[in-house]
């Protein structure tokens, strides 16, 4: 490739990883490095974990510094870009737009009128319009993508499978509204729909509702169901689970966790399996219709 620089290895240009919060950016970076690929982290101020960022070649950046990103990425020989990790929807002033973004402002303002999905796919398009190739975890590291079937020893019972099917149907219905990618269903009863608070806070809410008696299904009932939105750009912001998800699901008194195989990121599957077995909950990859092998 013409963009290749001496720093790139393995015949591929370096991978730019735009890092939000959580451990996923580093799991992705490690997976790319394992394949002999050079990575450059663009750590988003306020989101990326400073203690972990230092272990990689990196540049700190504000969200709106697109011109700066383009200059550094070119100098680093990056053509492929991955966007990964948690980022709350920013306010317009918080993105600290540089000159390049200011020129794109009409486009940016339109993006901000939509939901998260709209915003993210628009940002993806911006990168592509400027000659970058947006790559997703599936392409970089398929081992980070949830497989079909269980992780860990437990399997859902029939009643759990009914809750999974209901959860997936609800996520399908809310998908056009560009909201959360997760719900909790217990005994055919919807306990929570995820909003901008994220899965962790939603599960904490379920735990609290159980604690204060607002929901009264038995402990060990109910499933956290996560799915990508319909038509979502699978290169950006796939739903993800990690070991903390298992702890939170256990604390919420759930029977298990079901995610859509092939479109959910799984950080540290071995640790997830161990945590699930210890918590006596199931973790299963299902197809979008709700069945798991």
């Amino acid at each position: 490739m013409s963009e290749q620089r001496p720093g790139a290895s393995n015949g591929e240009a370096a991978l730019a990883i735009i890092c939000g919060g959580g451990s996923l950016p580093f799991a992705l970076a490690d997976a790319a490095v394992r394949r002999g690929r050079r990575v450059v982290l663009f750590a988003l101020r306020g989101w990326a974990d400073p203690e972990r960022v230092v272990a990689y070649p990196h540049h700190w950046t504000w969200m709106g510094q697109f011109g700066r990103f383009m200059r550094i990425a070119a100098a680093e020989g990056c053509r492929d870009v991955a966007l990964i990790g948690s980022v709350a929807r920013p306010s317009l002033w918080q993105i600290r737009p540089d000159f390049r973004v200011l020129r794109l402002m009409p486009q940016v303002l339109r993006l901000f009128r939509g939901g998260d999905d709209h915003l993210q796919s628009g940002i993806g398009r911006m990168f592509e319009q400027h000659g970058f190739r947006l790559v997703g975890p599936k392409e970089i590291a398929p081992e980070l993508v949830m497989p079909h079937g269980p992780i860990g020893a437990r399997l859902p019972r029939d009643r759990d499978r009914a809750d999974i099917a209901r959860g997936l149907a609800l996520l399908n219905a809310t998908s056009p509204f560009d909201i959360g990618q997760a719900v909790v269903v217990a005994d055919n009863h919807v306990l929570a729909v995820e909003g901008p608070e994220g899965t962790d806070r939603m599960l904490a809410r379920v735990a609290e509702l159980r604690h204060n008696g607002r929901i009264r299904t038995a402990v060990g009932t109910g499933v956290l169901v996560k799915a990508a939105k319909l038509g979502q750009d699978q290169r950006i912001d796939l739903p993800a689970i990690g070991p903390p998800t298992i702890d939170e699901a256990r604390a919420a008194g759930l029977a298990g966790v079901a995610v859509v195989a092939g479109s959910t990121i799984v950080a540290e599957p071995e640790r997830i399996a161990a945590a699930a077995d210890q918590a006596k909950i199931f973790v299963i990859g299902v197809d979008a219709g709700g069945t798991g092998r």
Copy 2:
């Protein structure tokens, strides 16, 4: 009517009001009494407000004491029954079933497999199968039902109307799943979907999300949208707003509150109007398609 007893006045049999929590049961009782009707409150233990119940003819009861209810209601000359006030979905053992309910157990167990709406309409059917007539607030006290148009001085702006329309469309989509009857939409972005926690806790969540920076739309943006579920029995559990709703909406930084005219209960509309004007937010009754006169 053959069921009429000396206690009944105004040519109508006494009205049995099965009271959950909050002030709505008393607003309904007062409205019936203003019409010269005798009321008998069946105060649900754990839910009805003991301090207010004592002002009315009343009997304390557990949720599952259907046989006892029937005996007392017959002795009191009640044929019409209203179910009103907040009640969390009970666990099966918490309803303290009496003998009559135990005989109906197969039916009750089926009810418990569905969502709240399913449970409520099933309970309504149980009353009707035993010779009672289920009556709703619209029939007893139309002045408690939200009118079309604004309450208070403020009106929604165009952007608020767009948020209202999006909120109503989302509530339509989630309606078959028998979940919450309220959402918060700000600047076309869904901030929260109500679950079993109730509107007050959902609004507190929005306030918290704003406070900790997880949502960043400007204060004074966003609408609480409430609607009855599609096909909901309008005699039971209509969505309701009261003066506290206004305080909570203001604390969540919203521009206003929109509810569906004709199928929302409004306790104390004058106090709501005063609170809304003071909080500088609008309160409007719209049709299910989102327009308000």
